[in-house]
């Protein structure tokens, strides 16, 4: 594509400019993606170099270190203890002891079972006391996978700590050699609330995230490579085991109807398409209508601004499950709307709000507007009021009418400021479980996809489908995991493209 210089660009007509920008946008996408992969390459190279440097450093530390340092390679914290840093030394030592005990008594077992995820399933054994056959539970695949992951985390932490321990010896030696004093235990404790305060502050939140977010995600990603489901729960019926990429094949291959007609990939494709359409419409209808309402309330000369706002804000406060469930029932076949319309004789048949696919899809989008506008109104009100008034004044002197002012000032300003918000809002809507599940539960059912796990409906998003898979009768956890990974891939892809492309087309609209 031809690159125009600034002066050449200015000579283009309006349509040409638009085409040019559009082209530039799409041309930038492959470059952004290319950059991303290039960066991965660079990153791997850097990482390899880093590891090499670390190894070299460890070796030199050992060869050049004194006996205290050398001992510390085996007995962690020895150097610290020998040099008077009792607290640090004891912590290192304690960690090592705990680690060794853990590995010897349980960690080793979990690690050894991890490749097979358990060998012996539950068996029936004769119990002489009860004089009957009872089920004896043996290996537990679920626990093996869970504790296996934990053990790997623990090993990584140990290697890191060991490395820190070595590094500390090196630094201590250097400091002593140049005649400096080492930090005493008191210094260490004091620095926990001062220069090292960030470590103290982060300790608790990061532990929480590690245990309750990172670890489960790693676990669930691994589940995608197993056959863990209701029939293989890894404990009381059958063990589960590694199956490689089979589950991805199931979800993505075009062949093979699954009893109920279309293939998994077709079902997946349908749900993904609806998810994207939904996310797009839900985000932008709310955005523009919310902005519209905010502008009406903000308009000079409109009275009772506070009252209008409060009325809308009140609806934000009411827990969503109440409002959504209530509205869902209101529009139901025998709900308030249909019954009253029938009573009034305006319709002969109940309107199929939740029964007809198109009706249902339009209904959820409209009700989502009802849910979302107050929130967007709040957000945009603040930003609208921050647009410098002199921009409008100069536009009016230049002869712009209300619509032109909106097009040329308000909208670009808003888009610039709320760009990142729109992205998070889009991905948030992709995963907007509450609105869909509480309104329709995914209904109406899609008969063509009856073979797929869960009962797939026309308003199902990927996220509600995922939920149905896990809670359904067959509980195909492995499939839920694959769907979850696909959601991640889609979200990450969109974010990556937007992050990389957006700033480049926004350069000319610099308001900062």
């Amino acid at each position: 594509m031809k690159q125009y210089s600034d002066l050449e660009y200015l000579r283009l007509s309006k349509g040409q400019r638009f085409l040019y920008k559009l082209m530039a946008f799409f041309m930038a996408i492959p470059r952004a993606i290319g950059h991303f992969f290039l960066n991965i390459g660079v990153y791997i190279k850097k990482a390899a170099q880093g590891v090499a440097n670390e190894c070299k450093d460890i070796v030199t530390t050992f060869t050049q270190g004194d006996w205290k340092t050398k001992t510390s390679f085996v007995i962690m914290g020895f150097g610290n203890l020998a040099r008077g840093q009792i607290l640090r030394g004891l912590l290192f030592l304690l960690f090592e002891v705990v680690f060794i005990f853990y590995m010897v008594f349980t960690g080793g077992y979990w690690m050894s079972m991890l490749p097979s995820l358990g060998k012996v399933g539950p068996t029936s054994e004769y119990n002489a006391v009860l004089d009957t056959y009872v089920t004896a539970y043996n290996d537990n695949s679920f626990k093996i996978l869970l504790y296996g992951v934990l053990t790997i985390f623990f090993i990584v932490a140990f290697i890191y700590t060991w490395r820190v321990n070595v590094e500390q010896n090196k630094l201590a030696e250097q400091a002593l050699r140049s005649g400096k004093k080492l930090k005493s235990d008191k210094d260490d404790l004091r620095s926990m609330v001062d220069e090292q305060f960030y470590k103290t502050l982060l300790a608790l939140p990061m532990t929480g995230i590690l245990v309750f977010t990172v670890m489960p995600i790693v676990f669930m990603v691994l589940v995608a490579f197993t056959n863990y489901d209701g029939a293989h729960n890894g404990f009381s019926n059958n063990l589960f085991s590694w199956v490689g990429l089979d589950n991805f094949n199931t979800l993505l291959s075009w062949t093979g109807g699954n009893g109920g007609g279309q293939s998994y990939s077709a079902t997946f494709g349908e749900i993904l398409t609806w998810t994207l359409i939904w996310a797009f419409l839900a985000t932008f209808t709310n955005y523009f209508l919310g902005m519209f309402v905010a502008m009406m309330i903000n308009k000079k000369g409109i009275r009772l601004k506070k009252m209008w706002r409060t009325v809308l804000v009140m609806t934000v406060a009411i827990p969503q499950f109440i409002s959504l469930l209530y509205v869902s029932k209101m529009f139901a076949r025998n709900g308030l709307i249909n019954l009253s319309l029938l009573d009034l004789g305006l319709i002969k048949q109940p309107l199929p709000f939740w029964e007809d696919p198109t009706w249902a899809r339009v209904s959820v989008i409209i009700i989502n507007i009802w849910v979302g506008i107050p929130y967007l109104m709040l957000i945009t009100t603040g930003i609208l009021m921050n647009i410098p008034a002199d921009l409008y004044e100069s536009a009016r002197i230049d002869g712009a009418n209300a619509w032109q002012q909106y097009r040329k000032i308000t909208l670009p300003y808003m888009l610039f400021i709320t760009g990142p918000y729109l992205l998070t809002s889009f991905t948030g809507n992709m995963n907007n479980f509450n609105v869909i599940y509480l309104l329709t539960g995914g209904a109406p059912t899609n008969p063509a996809a009856s073979g797929a796990a869960g009962s797939v409906g026309y308003t199902d998003l990927l996220i509600t489908w995922l939920f149905k898979i896990t809670t359904g009768a067959e509980s195909q956890y492995y499939l839920a995991s694959v769907v979850g990974i696909m959601v991640f891939v889609v979200v990450a892809f969109i974010s990556l493209v937007v992050y990389n492309v957006l700033p480049s087309i926004k350069n000319e609209e610099d308001y900062q």
Partner: protein
């Protein structure tokens, strides 16, 4: 000529203002009607199922009495405990996180923030299965769901640091520096300088953390499944609207909705100012 144009402008303005009032009134009605309906139906005595009219033919408190005699009390207390605990603990965790990421420049800061951004792209629902199993191993499911829900809700709340970090970023760094030169440790800077200046964001965080559990549905249902004693209001009241219960419990649901919504809404309206500041700041900072 000039006079005429003036008049034109004024009438035009009056017309557009009038139409705005009309639109705003319609919008307000649409937005409020469902809540008016739900309140009216909660006082309906003559039938417990959905009907085609709004104003009760026979008024009474029967639905609220039903509520009192059901498990609703338990659910309400459960939810209240979760909300209260979350409000305290989540606020502490998020403030720690956001203050650190706003004020300290350490080597792992960038990678950490990127890592959390990526983590956030995984659908949280995915982890429900394993979290449920872990909680059940700890004995924190079904009847003991309350501490389990608090634990899970609080543990991963550090990821939601964006809004408060955005606020902290607006407090000039030179205040920290002046205080450090004056002899304050980082801890004292936080307690004596930053926190007193952070009232809006602290209140915002408490408010959102408190309101969250009232609408928490999916995970709560998963964890407490089948044991009414462990339900929160959302899970419990959802069960009233299932096909086999709705005819009996519909108006009771409405009464429950009123009981849940009224205190939360009042609290929210009192602290509205802080909420607005929070969401606006959050959206601008991304």
């Amino acid at each position: 000529m000039n006079e005429k144009r003036h008049m034109g402008l004024r009438t035009l303005n009056r017309v557009s203002n009038t139409s705005i009032y009309v639109i705003l009134t319609i919008i307000s009605v649409i937005w409020l009607l469902p809540f008016v309906f739900i309140t009216l139906q909660s006082f309906r005595v003559e039938s417990t199922y959905q009907v085609g009219y709004v104003i009760p033919k026979q008024w009474g408190l029967q639905n609220y009495i039903n509520l009192w005699n059901s498990d609703f009390k338990r659910w309400y207390i459960n939810t209240f405990i979760i909300a209260l605990a979350s409000a305290v603990l989540i606020t502490i965790i998020q403030l720690c996180m956001s203050y650190t990421l706003s004020r300290f420049r350490f080597k792992m800061r960038g990678p950490l923030m990127r890592f959390m951004l990526i983590l956030g792209m995984f659908p949280g629902m995915l982890t429900m299965i394993i979290l449920y199993r872990v909680l059940s191993d700890l004995g924190l499911t079904q009847a003991n769901a309350v501490p389990g829900l608090i634990l899970v809700g609080v543990a991963s709340s550090g990821m939601g640091y964006y809004v408060s970090k955005g606020f902290f970023d607006t407090i000039p760094k030179s205040l920290d520096e002046a205080a450090r030169v004056d002899g304050a440790t980082r801890f004292q800077v936080l307690c004596k300088i930053i926190l007193p200046l952070s009232k809006p964001i602290v209140i915002y965080t408490i408010l959102t953390a408190f309101m969250g559990p009232w609408g928490d549905f999916v995970f709560a249902r998963y964890v407490a499944f089948g044991t009414s004693a462990g339900y929160n209001v959302a899970v419990g009241m959802y069960s009233w609207l299932t096909n086999d219960q709705i005819a009996r419990m519909y108006t009771t649901f409405c009464a429950g909705g009123v009981i849940v919504a009224v205190p939360v809404t009042i609290l929210f309206l009192c602290l509205q100012k802080y909420y607005v500041e929070g969401v606006t700041g959050g959206a601008v900072k991304g």
